[in-house]
Symmetry: C2
Subunit: 473 residues, 2 copies
């Protein structure tokens, strides 16, 4: 026997299969279909959810249900990168400053900055908690939280660590001003001016800026958009070059979005341990996985204590709170001293509010919600690129996070496109800021952090048109 | 003709002069005196305020009015310091960590940490503003505030700058994570590993930790507890040593409390400019002056743009908010890039709340109130030391701020006293953390940041007794 909603689902599915409803077109609204088929709106919703789970239709916020564009995506995938095999000084600050100036402009279509839309976050609940603590216990928190940061927040993070395969105690953690400070402290504790740090290529420009600020050199490793750095090249590099540390993303790196298989992670750890090179890992996107399981970070696979772990809440709930953390492992003394020297400690009330939120307010449910949302955004943006960009464009296929790496057909230069796009009110991140060696001039990064909307869809179409026009010239 | 309150004041003053009421004893309460002399409580209060203004009596919070101990203080003043005339590597982190571990323990009598008592601050109003903004506009502030920090806060700080003799525009400022980050960014932008920085001696241990964290060397300058560094020695030093920057407190330095006369500030600026050595100034105590006028910071006297200015709200209203600022002057590019690499930006809501507080909530009145309070605390603590500590003890006479520098008769060592004091539930800062060359073993710093109370008075008496006992051995 079939339930009413299953009957309705089968009816719609048949219309799609038979070509009556075409991919990308709107499905009748819940009210329309419930009128037409004499079922309750609840039953109609159940049917649509079932179809959605089966990938037959998809919902778009504020817009209704659409037949899934289930056709194969014709875009190619970027090839493994091939940066120069030598350490180089870094000078990306000027380029980055120019990007950030625009990326924080709220009047532009926000494809430039890898931040989540504040409206998508659970921040209303979090802000209410902050408000309550500020009113009721403000003076209790008008103090310095040194040396390691709010004790309750460290307890809550330690509790969560079992979810990513670690068993941490609150004392293993130091709260930082976002992941940025965590990475800076980690780099400072393992390297001195002139030393070489091995990184993915392309890599997050903030890492390059940290390397630049510390007068270090970056050695960019060839990186597969699917599976991360090239193990053989790393092995060769460690034999020939004095690498002070390896700085890698744990999962869904920014901008490529790669997922390093667990076995490969173990092999990288073995290799680094053999050469006594510490690993600094950036797990800021780890909680935003699209698959069934959270990928384990390196530190959970490292039995030698050779990994410094960095993360934050900036991508999942509160970029404005600036709360991150570091697991300093065997660099505890150095990192604590550097933390004190750099910022003493972070703001107390935001830490207290996050602790309360983690303890009471359904962070897991929130994560489930935004994972689904970012996954949909990534899918829709990929399809929009597929429809709009020049033939030959390649796009990454991240299994988590919310950025896409786009490789334009040469000789297109994303820096030229950047200036033209700004004039049309669109911001994105040109590829050159992700390299220490001025590579990726024909690439760009698009953020899918904002809820899918007509304006974003049109933004992508405009970008595609600009690229096609430039190519035709 | 005399008003009733003037008559009453004259009556009490006569009792004091005649020796009926002895220094340090309690004056009749307002209720008692209004009953006895048949005046209203308001009139009695007017009379007591008049006597207080004339220095005849003094009020103690929660305790009533006392005859002022108007006798001269017998304590000597610490002599000009005499550190070694050479640059030295810095390694104070371990000592400082041990201090901070105890200094943040709320069960100890809080003489260790130079923070104001949260209860003395206007933080209730500030916290209410934070709560309101979080509830009403939380998502608006759940963003990064790069590159320079909250625009309205920068406007409000720029407005205030005229009070210290500057005319700044909001664009001249960068918001930092407390003064700590400001000083770190300043040091980073002028010096590289191995370079030498000239500092006061003794100086704030946080500066020494920053110097240590950056692998710089400290050159400690002889410093007069009244008027600051020795100009002649600075002149000689600049001729013989490659000093990359001079890092000085603008006013009431921590721990000595010196006040550098304006003419001397100009002379220091001239000298540094002649040698092309930038000045980094730390003006964190500038608003807490006991005299009639706020001392001008160096930057207000510097017509050459050779000064980097650092300050914060941590000593005046909100240590827990971690909001400071820097005026990078001609190091703008470097400091902005370093800020981005270090922490990206600070928490948004605390910045927004401070901006609103500065614009609307009587910060000037608040400052007037805490200036008076800290001045009283410093006076009472000085007198308590005078009563309790061994003969030969010397104490600084700061004209602002809220710390006292105590020089014990040799061979007393404050580190031994520290351990014994902890056992009695008292924390202070031993002298050795204020020097790069292990000096000041017989000195200590006492914080007067907490409201005067019996427990603090007894804490000082216990410290004095411990010191006397150690000396007798």
């Amino acid at each position: 026997m079939q339930f009413r909603y299953e009957e309705l689902a089968a009816f719609i599915a048949a219309l799609v299969e038979g070509g009556t409803l075409l991919p990308g077109t709107r499905v009748p609204s819940l009210r329309e279909i419930s009128d037409q088929r004499k079922v309750s709106v609840t039953t109609a919703l159940q049917a649509y959810r079932l179809l959605e789970d089966r990938g037959v239709i998809e919902s778009r916020p504020q817009s209704g249900f659409y037949v899934a564009r289930s056709g194969p995506i014709s875009l190619g995938v970027p090839s493994v990168t091939n940066p120069p095999a030598k350490a180089t000084g870094v000078a990306v600050s000027d380029l980055v400053e120019k990007l950030l100036e625009h990326a924080s402009n709220p009047r532009l279509i926000p494809l430039g900055c890898a931040v989540p839309d504040p409206k998508l976050l659970a921040a209303v609940r979090l802000d209410k908690i902050l408000a309550r603590i500020a009113r009721q216990k403000g003076s209790e928190y008008n103090v310095y939280t040194f040396p390691k940061g709010d004790a309750r927040l460290r307890r809550e993070i330690a509790k969560r660590s079992s979810r990513w395969g670690q068993v941490l105690s609150p004392d293993d953690l130091v709260i930082t001003v976002g992941c940025t400070e965590a990475l800076m402290l980690a780099l400072k504790s393992v390297a001195r001016a002139g030393d070489t740090i091995a990184v993915e290529s392309p890599t997050y420009f903030g890492l390059l800026q940290a390397i630049e600020a510390l007068d270090l050199k970056a050695l960019e490793l060839p990186t597969d958009p699917a599976t991360g750095i090239d193990l053989n090249v790393l092995a060769k590099t460690l034999k020939t070059t004095n690498v002070k540390a390896c700085l890698l993303s744990s999962s869904f790196n920014n901008p490529l979005g790669c997922t390093v298989p667990e076995e490969k992670k173990r092999a990288i750890l073995d290799l680094l341990a053999r050469h006594d090179v510490p690993l600094i890992e950036d797990d800021i996107y780890g909680d935003i996985y699209f698959g069934d399981r959270r990928p384990k970070p390196y530190i959970a696979l490292d039995r030698r204590g050779n990994t410094i772990y960095c993360s934050s809440f900036s991508k999942t709930i509160a970029p404005g709170y600036r709360v991150g953390w570091i697991v300093p492992s065997r660099y505890r003394e150095k990192i604590l001293a550097a933390k004190f020297a750099h910022t003493l400690c972070g703001a107390a009330l935001p830490q207290a509010a996050l602790a309360e939120f983690l303890a009471t307010s359904g962070y897991e449910n929130h994560l489930r919600r935004i994972r689904r949302m970012f996954k949909d955004n990534v899918e829709w943006m990929t399809r929009a690129i597929d429809r709009s960009f020049p033939v030959g464009t390649k796009v990454s296929r991240p299994a988590g996070g919310f950025v896409l790496w786009v490789e334009l057909p040469k000789p297109l230069r994303s820096r030229d496109l950047f200036d033209r796009a700004l004039k049309k009110g669109i911001c994105f991140a040109p590829g050159d800021v992700f390299s220490a060696s001025a590579r990726y001039a024909n690439c760009l990064r698009l953020s899918c952090g904002y809820g899918w909307s007509d304006s974003i869809e049109k933004g992508i179409e405009t970008l595609g048109a600009l690229a096609r026009a430039a190519l035709a010239r």
